[in-house]
Every structure is written in structure tokens, then in C-alpha cells.
Amino acid sequence: MKTVQKGILNRLYLVVGLMTLFLIVIFVKITHIQYTEGDKYRALSENRTVRNDTIFFNRGNVVSEGGNLLATSMSKYDIRMDVVTVKTSVFEKNIHALSEAMSAMFGKPVSEYKAYFRKARRNKNRYLLIARNLGYMDYLKVKNFPIFRLGVYKGGFITEQKTVRAHPIGKIAERTIGRGNVGLEGAYDAYLEGSLGWRMKQKIANNQWKPINDNNEVEPKDGSDVITHLDVNIQDIAHHALLEQLQLFEADHGCVVVMETNTGAIKAISNLGRTSQGKYYERLNYAVGESHEPGSTFKLASLLVALEDKVIDTGTVVDTKKGKMFVYRKKVEDSHKGGYGEISAARAIEVSSNVGIVKLIQEHYKKQPQKFVDAIENLGLASKLGLKIKGEGSPYIPSPKNKKRWSGISLEWMAWGYGVSLTPLQILTFYNAIANDGKMVKPQFVKALRTEGKIEKVFEPIVLKEKIASLTTVKKLQHILENVVKRGTAENIYTPNFSMAGKTGTAKKVVDGVYSNQDYVASFAGFFPVENPKYSCLVVIHKPNKRKGYYGATVAAPVFQKIAQKIYVSAPVSEEIANEHPNISELKVADKKYYSLLNSEKKTVPNVKGMAGMDAVSVLENLGLKVVFQGIGKVRYQSLRKGQKIKKGNTIVLKLSS
């Protein structure tokens, strides 16, 4: 008995001992976790339930002068489909309808879509691409397609939303508006970009995070809007006028810029280049970046220097002989075969006589070329404009000081625009200064910056040169440019309706180190209206198909004319007419009756007898009636009586007579 008791006691001691040991181990472990490793685990737990949440800013918009969005951040949707999740019966029943809807929206044939879906189902594709980068409206349409409208689980409809930078007006002015560090987006990135904010958040149910404090630790700051000078309407016309001409002449590329004369505000800028398939798109910002030999448009600068130095006058006669001359055995030739004989300096510009301008400059500057070069440089043509947009091309004006690049023909070649190099915007700035009575203003793309709806900064016009020449000289040049259109090389664009002035340019392009007889640059620079210039405009078209035409007048000038025409017809002409017997009081009574009927709450047929026909129609149609009328003038008869109840869509017949 005793032995049994002892055995039990021993076992009891063992169990108690083991349990005590177990407790001690637990205690030791707890102490270890709490104190030795405590900090590590506490930090880990905090990380899981509390986080520093970044609050993103909204990037500013680029907008046109009229408030149209040119670049903005918008939601785009990628649509995918989990083909496996759709029930076989649903799939089979709807695949045709779905393929039809897809075909109507995205253009490929129905059969192709059907095969596409069937293949995906065979391959058990759970992530089939349906469409990329859809706008919100298109996304809604796709969401309503057969099968897709069943939703995520039954229809396998997968949406991925992303915020992208988009150009709402499409491809128009795309290069200038830019993307990334290109164009205005790049130039004004510091303004468009906001700053990130952050706040502490704690995790709650549904995978949501709750802010811990009332205020953000750091508030995010939205970017500023950049308001440009671009006018969507002028831009649209410029783009399409250029595109049409490029297509017509199968040209390689071209650009057009419209600038406001007084301020230098760029109203439109279009740069189109050709793809290997013969389509055109905004390839590069040629207007800003492409420095090229201007050809005849440069003659105006040569003439300006000579007039300003008073070595010649517009009436100075120059003998162009038979339109040919040689300088160190290099030929200068007029495009008009046989030449112009003896003509005035002004006429030499009007008809764009190469021999004429070369002779004039040669005669007066051959012994002092530096004087001529200095004067050209003094016009601001030798330095960059200092645009904020990246990639502005460098101008080049040769100088006798640089003996390596100066030769016996440099001066003469410069006179008619060869051996010098300018970007389209630099040429336009010069022509704009002529239009602006000698005041040279810097081309400006941006009008103002706006932060949170308030204008923060306005960019005033920048004057590059108060006077590039005396007013007398400038007026003479303006007159000559007017005559170029009236009776000179650009008379093909002359119209008696409105006035334009400008200069054509046809320059040979250098191909493999020599001037090509096949590749040309056609250009036109000018301004309108002549009396009080409002806009100046430059058109440059590179490499038109020679067989279709290559002269500045035929290739480039029509683009200029279209833009001028558009701006001319957009501004209404105001005319005041004094009427001897204006019956204002009678009109007022009629108006009163019309407005009282229009605003009346009653939904019964009103009495419109005696009312003017057009007023009666608008009153009745606003009430939901269909109106059929005969004759003109005032209402003499109405088919529905006054006071009758109106049923929407009912027809009322009116008889009118004056």
C-alpha cells in the first residue's frame, strides 16, 4: 500500500516539477520578447497598422488663351477580360454580339474578334487585352458591351485606371505643348509640378487607412496652370492649312507660326513632318529648332541695312541685265528668265531679283563687308532669341573676322540669304519688327501662370530692340512688302477684300555639300492687315515635290493667305445705321408679350395670334408642341385653341401673313 502511495507521490512531484519548469520557460521567453527584442516587435507592429501616407499633388494644366485644355492629367482605362470566369452558356450566347460591338467600336472585322475570344478561352486566358488608353466615355461604352455588362465576376470585366498626361485637342500643336521635358511642358515644368504632402494614417477595416491627426503633416501643393497665348481656332486653321499644302506638294516637312504684332504672343504654331507612309504628324519643333538658309526672305534685311546706311534709296536704279551675274565664277541668277533689266531697288525686292539685291550690296559693301555684317548682327539676327523651350536652333551669320569661313562670295551670297542660317522663329521675329514699326518683341508662348484659380504671374511683352531701324526706313519696307502681294512675286494671293504684305522665299537646299536643283525650301513671311498690322506669320515648307511646284509663292504663300482670310472673316465689321422712324415702343410691347408667354408656368396653349411668327414658334416649341406653319409674318390662325391642355408632341398648325 505504502509503495503504491509513494509511487503516486513521486509522479505528482514530477508533474509539478515539469509544470514549474514550463512556467519558468514561458516567463523567461516573455521577458525576452518584452525587453530584449521588445523594440523590434513594437516597431514591426506599428509598421503594419500605421503608415506615413504620401498625398499626391495634381499637375497643372496647359490651357489655351480661350481656356481650352491643351494638356492635362486625365484618367485613361485599360480593359482586360478574364475569359475563363465567364460561363460557357453565357459565352456562347453572347460572343457574336460582343464581337459585333467590338467591331463597331474598334474597327476590325467581327470574325477576327470572335476568333480572338475563342482562342483566349481555349488557352484559359484570364487577362486578355481588350483595349488600351480609353477615355472615360469610351470606357463606359465598352463596359456596357454584352458579357462585359455582367461585371467583374460573371463577365470577367477587368478595368485598370491610370492617370496620364493627355492633349485634349489631339495632335494639333503637340510638339509645342510637349511632353516630359519637351515643349512647354518641359519649359514650365517647375510651375506645373506641385509638391507632395504626407500624413500619418492608421489601418482600419476594408483595407482603408484612417488619418491619425486632424491636419496633414505636410499639405500637398497642386501645380500651377500655364496659360498660353495659343488660340485654338487660329491653331486649327493654321494646322489644317499647312497640312493641306504639305499633302498637295508632297513636301517633307514644314511649319507655320502666327504671332501677334504688338506683343509677340504666339497665336498658333504648327510643325508637321512626313512619315515613310506619307502621313504627316508633329514630328519635331521645326519652328523653334531648325536653323536653315532663309533665301529670299533675308533680302529684306539686306535692303534694310542699305537703306538705313543711306547708301541707296528705294528708287535707286540697279541694272539686273539679263538676270545673270557671276561672282568669282559662281552664278547668281534670277528665276525670271531674261532678267528684269533696269529696275528700282524696291522693285528688285517686289520681284525678288537675286541679281538686283546682290549688285546693290556688292556695290556698296564690297570694300567694307564688316560694316554690312555688323549691321545685320545689330538687327539681333546673330543671337538666339532665348526661348524657354528646349532645343532652340543657333543662327549663323558669317563674318570677315572668321577668315576660315569667309570667302570672296560670302558678302554677295549673304545678300540674297545664302551662307546665313536662321530658325523660322528668328525670321518671323524680324518680320514682326518691320510690321511693328521697328520695335522688335520676343516671341512669347505663355501669357500667365494661374495657381488655384488665381492669376499668379503675368508675362508682359519683352522688347528685344526698341528700334531696329528708323521709322522712315521701316515704312518704306512695309510699303515694298505690300507691293510684293499687290504686284510682285506673291500676287497670286492678292485679294481686294483685305490687305496683306510679305515676302516670298525660295531657297535651294544643300545636299551632299552642294546646292541641289531638286530640293528647295519654300517660305513666306509677312503680316496683315497692312494699315495696322495685327498679326505676322511665317510659313516654311521643306522639300516640296519639284514637279508640283517649289516657289515660295505657290507652295508657302497660300497657307499664309488662308490664315489671314480666316482671321479677317472672324472679326465682325460694325456698322451703325440711323433709322428715321424706329418704332421702338411697338417692339417693346411685342417683346414683353413674348417673354411673359415664354416664362409662364401655365401648361395650356397660349393665344399667339398677332405675334411675330418666329416668336410664336419658339414659345410653342418650348411648351413641347410641334409647330407646322404656312406663310410668313404674323400669326393669323392657330389650330389649337387658347387654353387647351398641352400634350407633349402634339402638332399645332399656324397660318401666318404679314
Binding site: 472615360y136 481656332n233 477684300n497 482670310q565 424706329p582
Partner: protein, 78 residues
Amino acid sequence: MVFLLLCMITSAHKADQKVMKIAQMNLEMKRLKALYIDSGTILTRMKMESSVREKVKEAGLHPSKTPPTKIKVIPKRK
């Protein structure tokens, strides 16, 4: 004490609900913004002269060659 505890729990739940609502409204805001910009884009493209020209071409309409004239009738002073 229990009452205070209940108050605390209710308030915490309310706060959570608000956060959910804010998240939902943010989503709605994004959706409406997308709708606004997208329809604005479509409208801008539709009202551009080139597309209007294209549309009315079939009807035989062309842009005017002369600007519109605003006629203002004023009473002649005697």
C-alpha cells in the same frame, strides 16, 4: 465608465465610416473629373472649325468669304 467606453467605440466607428465615405467620394470625384475632361475633349474637337467644315461640306456649306456685319440701329436724333 461603460457609457464612456460605448461613446468611444461609437465615435471610432463613425470616424471609420467617414474614412470609407471619403474614399468613395474621392473615387467619385476622379470619375466625374474624367467625365468632365473627356466630354470637354470631345466637345473641343467637335467645335473646331476644321471638323465643322468637314461635317457641313456635304450640305454644301462653306466658310464665308466676308466677315459678318453687325448692324446697330440707332434712332436718328432730330
